[in-house]
Structure formats: structure tokens, C-alpha cells
Symmetry: C2
Subunit: 342 residues, 2 copies
């Protein structure tokens, strides 16, 4: 078998705050060999995810990355060696191989999936037809339980997850209100993602009033990707029996020491609100259904998506850091090499 020189990005140091590029390092070595049942992948795209803040934090997490090892990331690439009967060399596969040109994938993991490049651009396997779409779909439907006529508020409304949430809620007959940062993202919300209203939180110094104005009857579902003060303010306007879906905490840089905010319990009590956190992997059983449904909606033009692609593996750390500054316009991907299917 051919020996491949490999480049990958390792974590040098765990983070006490936001992921800074200096925490990472590009190393070069030989590509690993796939074991029994495993597959060697040559990646085309890898992801930069908001959740990575938690994966590399000094505070332990469900998906902690150890220092000295390849940074975890979602990936899509081509199988170059396969010891698995269902995967042939040349197959396109989505996996969880990390920031690396070459990496071994374990097909028994729930994120592993063969991708049909005829179906949609293969990059969507890391976005609307992958982790972000599934997160939006499963979190909104299982926990948010949107009913036709509900007012659904979404934070990071133009983001990869938020934009899908808004559009799924719309398909379910809800009125959708996005919270986004900046004029460009706000325009995306209304013009591309079909939100009924949008609040540019960077352009208002009174989010509470702005929200009250566009949600005069209260908020039935809040799909929250940020937490922090935005959550505090929204909670005060959640309607009777409202649902708050805790999907991410992007607004808080560090959790040690645990920061303070407004006490939520009286709002939860008086308005009988349910607030619940979830991880997308809690719903792997529903991924096939989510994929089928989202593919259909994308094909029918009912769901739009945006991708923001950085060039070159060495730029993955900077792309990640940019997420927390809100620099990305859509799903943040990193192109490891030219996409032969584009």
C-alpha cells in the first residue's frame, strides 16, 4: 500500500477561554494504517464547530481532546484504503476524523456515513445534511416541540444550526424571529432564511424592548445557541408553557469560575417553562429520518444554507477562533484539498 505523508493539527494546550490559534500546531508525519474493519480517509473538508470551545477546555467535557493528539472535527473525504466490506476505495464518506489530511475512520461510529456526491455538494455532509442540520432538526422537534402558530426565537439565527432551525420552524407553521449580530447576518435571516423578523443585537442597546416589540404575545420556543445575557432576557418573555432548547453557550467565553446571571427559577415557575439541554448525539437514532427529511426540503428549495470555507488545513485554528468573533457567514468549513466533486 502507498505510504502517504500526512499533515494534521494537534492540540498543544487546553484552553481556559476561547480557542486561540496558538493552542494548536501543524505536525507532519506518516499517515496511519487502518486496522481491521477500519478505513483510511483522505479528507476534502473538515469542520470548525462552536462546540470545540468545550472540547478543548480545561473543564472536562463529553468530547474532550487530549493534548498532543489530533484535534477532533467532523470531516468528509474519500476512502483510500478500506478494511470494511461496505466501503470501497473511492467512496465518499463523512466521519469524525479530525483536522488531518489523512486519518483512520471507524465505521461503527454514529457520525460515519457514506455520502452520495450526486445528491448534493459533499460539503453539505458537514452542514445542513450533517451535524448542523441534524442538531437543528432533532433539538427543535424533540425538545422545542413547535406547534403551528407558535412564535419561535432563534439565537445565532444566521448560523449553520440557527438558520436550519428557523426554516424548519417555518415549515412547521411557526412565526420565526431571529437574533443575529450585524447587518449582513440580519439581512441573511430575512432574505435567505425567511425569518418573519430579525433583531440585530449589535445594533440595539435594548434587546429586551426590541424583543418585546417583535414578540408581543411572548415566545413559545427559544432555541438557544448562545446562553448568557441573551438567555436571561429571553427567559423573561417566554410565554406560558414555553420551551427553551439549550443547544450551545457561545456567548460565554469560560465556565471556570462559573459566571453569574439572572436567576431563572421564578420565570420557569410562574410560566411553567421547560428548559432543557441536549447534545446532538442523544438523537443518533433519528439521524436517518433527519437526513431523509432535510434532503427532501433542500431539494425542494424549502431550506437554504450558507457555507464559509477557509482554504488549507493550517488555517483551521484561525477559522475556529473566527467563529467566536462572529466572522463566519454560514457553516464554517476548512478545505483540506480541492474538491473533486465541486
Amino acid at each position: 500500500m502507498a505510504q502517504h505523508t500526512n499533515r494534521r493539527v494537534i492540540l498543544k494546550e487546553r484552553a481556559t477561554g476561547l480557542p486561540k490559534p496558538e493552542l494548536f500546531e501543524v505536525v507532519e508525519d506518516d499517515a496511519p494504517s487502518p486496522g481491521d474493519g477500519e478505513i483510511l480517509i483522505n479528507n476534502i473538508y473538515v469542520s470548525a464547530d462552536p462546540g470545540m470551545k468545550g472540547w478543548i477546555s480545561v473543564a472536562r467535557n463529553y468530547a474532550s481532546v487530549e493534548t498532543g493528539t489530533t484535534m477532533h472535527a467532523f470531516s468528509v473525504g474519500v476512502a483510500v484504503e478500506s478494511n470494511h466490506p461496505d466501503v470501497q476505495e473511492g467512496d465518499v464518506v463523512a466521519a469524525n476524523t479530525g483536522w488531518a489530511e489523512y486519518a483512520v475512520a471507524d465505521p461503527t461510529l454514529p457520525t460515519f456515513r457514506k455520502v452520495d456526491p450526486e445528491d448534493a455538494p459533499i460539503s453539505t455532509a458537514l452542514g445542513i445534511l450533517g451535524i448542523n442540520g441534524f442538531t437543528a432538526y432533532c433539538g427543535l422537534l424533540n425538545i422545542g416541540q413547535p406547534q403551528a402558530g407558535d412564535t419561535v426565537v432563534v439565537s445565532t439565527a444566521a448560523g449553520a444550526v440557527g438558520s436550519a432551525v428557523g426554516q424548519i420552524a417555518k415549515i412547521k407553521g411557526c412565526r420565526t424571529v431571529g437574533i443575529a449580530g450585524g447587518a449582513e447576518k440580519s439581512a441573511l435571516c430575512t432574505d435567505v432564511f425567511g425569518y418573519d423578523a430579525v433583531i440585530d443585537y449589535k445594533a440595539t442597546d435594548d434587546l429586551e424592548s426590541a424583543l418585546r416589540e417583535v414578540c408581543p404575545d411572548g415566545i413559545n420556543v427559544y432555541y438557544d445557541n448562545v446562553g448568557g445575557e441573551t438567555l436571561d432576557i429571553v427567559l423573561g418573555q417566554v410565554a406560558l408553557h414555553g420551551r427553551v432548547v439549550i443547544c450551545g453557550t457561545a456567548a460565554t467565553d469560560a465556565w471556570i469560575p462559573q459566571p453569574s446571571g439572572l436567576r431563572p427559577e421564578r420565570n420557569l415557575l410562574v410560566n411553567r417553562i421547560r428548559m432543557e439541554g441536549f447534545l446532538t448525539f442523544d438523537f443518533v437514532d433519528q439521524y436517518a429520518e433527519a437526513h431523509a427529511q432535510l434532503s427532501t426540503w433542500v431539494r425542494e428549495g424549502k431550506i437554504a444554507y450558507r457555507e464559509d470555507v477557509a482554504e488549507g488545513l493550517e488555517n483551521a485554528p484561525a477559522a475556529l477562533a473566527g467563529l467566536y468573533e462572529g466572522r463566519n457567514m454560514g457553516r464554517q468549513l476548512v478545505r483540506v484539498r480541492p474538491d473533486p466533486f465541486a
Copy 2:
């Protein structure tokens, strides 16, 4: 019809903090006349409830009492006039007539119920076989969803609701841990209410460690009657997929301005915790079932209860104030007149 001189306690002024006796006043006038379908009740017991803090707060609430009107309260008494076909003079009825010797009850309200004095002491209609028992039963089973083997933590564990929660959880096969204030209440928890462990929060300056010691595998259900710092501490120890039942916020004196505490969203996210508030009236459909089940358990000796009875309607405001100082030992009632069934 006989005209009855009536004494009742009215709210003079809404509260900005805890209910102080000075906010109330005893007035004397003639008893009202029941309208069509209504009943005039001569009360025997009325209640002093932790929730009353919210009812009289300047912050509006689901059950706000207007100044100049009789203080809302649960009550049990005897029908002295009835314009309703199902109720005869002399029947014992539980209702929601307020702090008054005589008051008109509307039998269409969900709190109205005929009480069989042969069944149990009639005072239980305001406690374990009434609002407190129903609150414990419906909140724990619907929202807490205890499974056999779960560790269930209860705050105000010796209180009217808490003690019932602990005992119901125990019947459901859970391990129960109570948090109570003071040696006497802690002893009640273990000796009378059968908790597997109890923490006297007044006797420890490190609730976090004390809790970790008795809940080494984390907390599956937290039934919370207090909120505040106790909730902050417990949330950090709730296990994967745990449930937090928000039943009351007794630890917080005032909600204007909204006080601060630790941000909960990361704990909710990482451990996929559900935190949900409820009011007992959300579950009126289940009251008949709750009454039947709790009556059986009380008769079988599986559920014990305690009552703390103040003498005389004029002492209702002081009894209420005492609740927030933790002075009561069991369900706080006020005896309006001698109980002819005791």
C-alpha cells in the same frame, strides 16, 4: 336565613419582600350571601402557604390578591347555606375561600371538593390529602419522572410538600436525600419521613461537599422548593439526563430586581438536564387519582404527615410570616374555630 357576623383578614398593602403581618388587617362585617349555585361556608381551618409570597407581591402573579380584599387561602369548613344541588347544609367541604370565618365558595372551581370526615382528619384536606399532597404527587411523577434506583433530592424536605415528595419517591423505589434546616427538621426527615440521608443546611458551611458525599453517583431528580443558592449547588451535581422540578422559590425574598445566581445553561447542556416549573393547578385533571392514591398510602401507613396549627384567624398573618423563617414544623394551618370532627 341567619345573618352571620364575619371576621376576615384583608390585604392592606402588597409586599416588596417577605409577607409581614403589618400588610394585613382583620375586619369585621356581615357574612356574604351565596349566589346561584354557590355555598356559604363556615370555615374550620385555613392555610398559610409558601406560595402566598407571590400572591401578595407587587410583582404580578398567577394568583395575585388585590388590596382591600380577603387574603386568598385554602380552607376546609362546613356548608351553612347551599344553593347547589350536590351540597347539603352540614357537608364538610374543602375550597379556596380565603382567611375568613364565613365565605362563599364556588363549587365549579377545581379546589372545591366534598370531604368525608370519616376518611381522615378534615385538616388533611388542606395538606397531605389536599393541595400539598397533590402538588408533591403530580409534580414528582409528571416532571421528576422518578425511576427505581434514582437518587432523588428534595429541598424543604420536612415541609408539607417535601415530606410527601420524599415518601412518594421512596415508594417508587428511589433513594431519597432531604435538605432541611435545623436538627429537629432533619430528625423528622429520617425518623418520620424515611429519607435515606438528610443534610441540615444550617449545620454545614459547605453544602456542595455535603451533597457530594451523600450523592456520590449524582442526582437524578431534584425536587426544588427553594431555588436560590441551593439550586445553584444542586445543579452542579445533577446526573446525566437528570430532572429538576421547580416547585417553589422560598429561598428568594424578592424578585424585583431579579436576583443573580450561577448560570445554569452549561450544566443543562453538558448533562442534558431538564429543568421545568409547574403549578399544581396545571394538574387538576389528576387530583382525583392523586387523592385516591395518597389516601390509600396514608391509610396503609406508608405516608406520614405533620401539621402545625396556629389558633385563631387573627394569627394567620404571623403564621404566614413564620413560614419564611422556617418556624413551622409541618403543614402550617390556622384553626378558625374548634374542629367538631377532631
